[in-house]
C-alpha cells in the first residue's frame, strides 16, 4: 500500500496554472463549505451565484496567488466577501425583516417551508437587528469569525487588512451585538487564542 498525501492548496494552484483541469480539485475541496457560509449570509439561490463567481474569479487570478500561503481558504473567502458585498442591501433587508417579524427569509430559502415558519428566538431577532446596523466591514469580520470559523490571521488575509484592524473591527461589532442582547457591551472579552 502506498501512502498518498493530498497536495495542499498552494500545490494544487501551482499545478492548475499549468493545467487548468487541476482547478477542479480546489473547487471540490472548498465549494461545499463556502456555499454553506454564503447561504447563511444571503440564502441558497444567491449562494449559487456567489460561489460560481468566486471560483471563476479565482481561476482568472491563479497566476497572482502567492503560493507561500498553503491554505487557499482566506483567498477564496476574500473574493467571496467582495461578491457578497454586492448584495449588501438584500442581506440587510433580511436581517431587518427577521428582527421585525421573526421570519427569516434566508432560512426559508433552504428549509422546508413549514418548518421555517417556526419563528426565530428572541435572541436571534435581537442579533439580526444588530447585524443590520453594523458597518459592512465590521459585519464581514464578525461573520467570518462566527460563521466561517476563521482565525484573526485568516480574516486579515482574506480582507487584506492588518490583524490589528481585524481585532478592532471585531471588538466594535461585538459591542453592538452585546448591547442588542441587553448585556453590558463593555464586557467583551478578547479571545486571544483565536489570533
Amino acid at each position: 500500500m502506498i501512502a498518498q498525501t493530498e497536495p495542499d492548496d498552494a500545490e494544487v494552484i501551482a499545478r492548475a496554472r499549468r493545467d487548468p483541469a487541476v482547478f477542479s480539485v480546489l473547487f471540490d475541496r472548498h465549494a461545499p463549505a463556502l456555499h454553506r457560509y454564503v447561504t447563511r449570509r444571503l440564502g441558497e439561490s444567491l449562494a449559487d451565484d456567489v460561489v460560481a463567481d468566486t471560483f471563476l474569479a479565482a481561476f482568472r487570478r491563479l497566476g497572482r496567488y502567492d503560493t507561500a500561503h498553503r491554505d487557499a481558504r482566506p483567498w477564496l473567502y476574500g473574493i467571496a466577501a467582495n461578491l457578497i458585498g454586492k448584495h449588501r442591501r438584500a442581506e440587510v433587508r433580511a436581517y431587518r425583516a427577521l428582527a421585525r417579524t421573526g421570519t427569516d427569509t434566508v432560512a426559508e430559502s433552504y428549509a422546508d417551508r413549514v418548518e421555517a415558519r417556526v419563528s426565530a428566538s428572541a435572541a436571534h431577532r435581537e442579533l439580526a437587528e444588530a447585524l443590520a446596523v453594523l458597518s459592512p466591514q465590521d459585519r464581514e469580520v464578525l461573520l467570518m469569525v462566527a460563521w466561517a470559523d476563521f482565525s484573526y490571521q485568516e480574516v486579515a488575509l482574506a480582507l487584506g487588512v492588518p490583524v490589528g484592524t481585524v481585532r478592532s473591527r471585531l471588538h466594535r461589532a461585538r459591542r453592538k451585538t452585546r448591547a442588542a442582547l441587553g448585556a453590558d457591551p463593555s464586557a467583551v472579552v478578547e479571545e486571544d487564542t483565536r489570533g
Partner: protein
C-alpha cells in the same frame, strides 16, 4: 450568554449543497468545452475569458507510482545564449512603432489556440473585449458568438484593457528600475495583500511574463525594458526550437531555477519535471504563445497525470482592433 456562541447558532441549520446542486455549480464553473476555456493559465491573461476546464483530474487513483527516478524524454530544443538573445529582442522591440490607443467603444480581438496535454487536437477560441471593459464576446471553434456583460470587480484586481494599458504606461522603462519594481510587485498590489513568500526573482519572472502575454499592446520602450530585465534575472534561459500550439517553432524563454508555480518544475532530487516557456518568434520576437513540456512524468498523488513527452501549449493566431464583436481585423 456569550454573543458569539449565540450568533454561531443563528442559521446553523444551513446545509452544505447537495450532490445535484454541487454538480450543477461545478459545471457552471468548470464549463466543459466550448464555453469559456481560458487560455494560457500558466501566465494568466488578465481579461481573458472567464475560466474553465474540461477534463477532471482523478486525484485518488490507485495506480502505483513508478519506482525510482523517472526517465526523461529527449526534446529537440537547444539552449542559446540568453543574454545575447534577450538584448537582441529588446533592440528589435524598441524599434517598433507605438500602437495607437483604441477608442473606448472599440474591441480588442484575439484568436488563441490551446492544446491540452491529454487531448489529441487543439481547440481555438476567439475573444472580443470592449476596450472600456464593459462587454465581452467569445466564440469557441465554429460555435456561436456568445456575448456577455462584464462587471468589474469592486477591488481593482480585474482591470479593463484600458486600465491595463494605463498601468503598463506607468511602468518604469529603465530595466533596472523595472526589475526592482516587479520583484516587489504582487501583480496586483492592492489585493490580495499577502505576506511575501514568493522569491523575488520568481515573482519578477512571473509578472514580466504576464505583461508579455496581454491582449493590450505593450509600449515598445517597455517591451524592450522587459527583455532587458529578464536578461538580468539569474536562471532565465532561452531555448531555440520551442513550438507553440500551432506547431510554429520559435525561441522559448524559461526560468530554470523555478519556484512553486513559476518556471521550471523540479522533483525532490532536483530533476526537471516540466519546463514552461514563453514562445516568441525567432526574428521579430513577437509573442507566439506558451508551452509546458513534461520532460518526466508529472505525478499527482502517485498517478501519472501527464506522461513524459506530453505538453500543454497555446498559440496566439491573430490579434487586432475592430469596431464590433464578431468582426475580424482587416475585414
Amino acid at each position: 450568554m456569550d454573543d458569539l456562541k449565540l450568533l454561531n447558532g443563528m442559521r446553523a441549520d444551513a446545509p452544505e449543497p447537495g450532490a445535484d446542486r454541487l454538480d450543477a455549480l461545478r459545471a457552471r464553473v468548470l464549463r466543459p468545452r466550448r464555453r469559456f476555456r481560458l487560455v494560457p493559465s500558466l501566465l494568466v491573461t488578465v481579461s481573458a475569458a472567464a475560466g474553465a476546464v474540461a477534463v477532471t483530474v482523478v486525484v485518488n487513483g490507485a495506480v502505483p507510482p513508478p519506482q525510482g527516478a523517472r526517465p526523461s524524454v529527449a526534446v529537440e530544443t537547444r539552449p542559446m545564449n540568453a543574454a545575447v538573445v534577450l538584448v537582441r529582442a529588446a533592440q528589435v522591440s524598441e524599434r517598433r512603432a507605438l500602437t495607437p490607443e483604441p477608442r473606448a467603444d472599440q474591441w480588442l480581438y484575439r484568436k488563441n489556440m490551446v492544446k491540452q496535454p491529454n487531448d489529441a487536437a487543439p481547440e481555438t477560441q476567439e475573444s472580443w473585449t470592449r476596450y472600456d471593459g464593459t462587454r465581452r464576446a467569445v466564440r469557441w471553434g465554429r460555435g456561436p458568438l456568445e456575448q456577455f456583460g462584464s462587471t468589474p470587480d469592486p477591488d481593482d484586481d480585474d482591470l479593463t484593457p484600458r486600465e491595463y494599458a494605463a498601468r503598463l504606461a506607468g511602468l518604469p522603462t529603465d530595466p533596472d528600475r523595472l526589475l526592482a519594481h516587479v520583484r516587489g510587485d504582487r501583480h496586483w498590489e492592492t489585493k490580495p495583500r499577502w505576506d511575501t513568500g514568493e522569491p523575488p526573482d520568481a515573482r519578477a519572472f512571473r509578472v514580466l511574463s504576464v505583461y508579455l502575454d496581454q491582449e493590450v499592446p505593450v509600449p515598445p520602450r517597455l517591451r524592450g525594458a522587459i527583455f532587458r530585465a529578464l536578461a538580468r534575472i539569474p536562471g532565465v534561459r532561452v531555448d531555440s526550437g520551442v513550438r507553440d500550439a500551432a506547431g510554429r517553432a520559435g525561441i522559448g524563454i524559461a526560468y530554470e531555477r523555478g519556484a512553486p508555480g513559476v518556471g521550471t518544475e523540479h522533483d525532490t532530487d532536483g530533476q526537471v519535471i516540466s519546463r514552461s516557456y514563453l514562445v516568441l518568434d525567432a526574428t521579430t520576437y513577437e509573442f507566439l504563445g506558451t508551452r509546458v513540456d513534461y520532460v518526466r512524468d508529472e505525478l499527482i498523488n502517485g498517478e501519472i497525470a501527464f506522461p513524459a513527452g506530453s505538453f500543454y501549449a497555446t498559440a496566439e493566431l491573430a490579434k487586432g482592433i475592430v469596431d464590433k464583436p464578431g468582426e475580424l481585423p482587416g475585414s
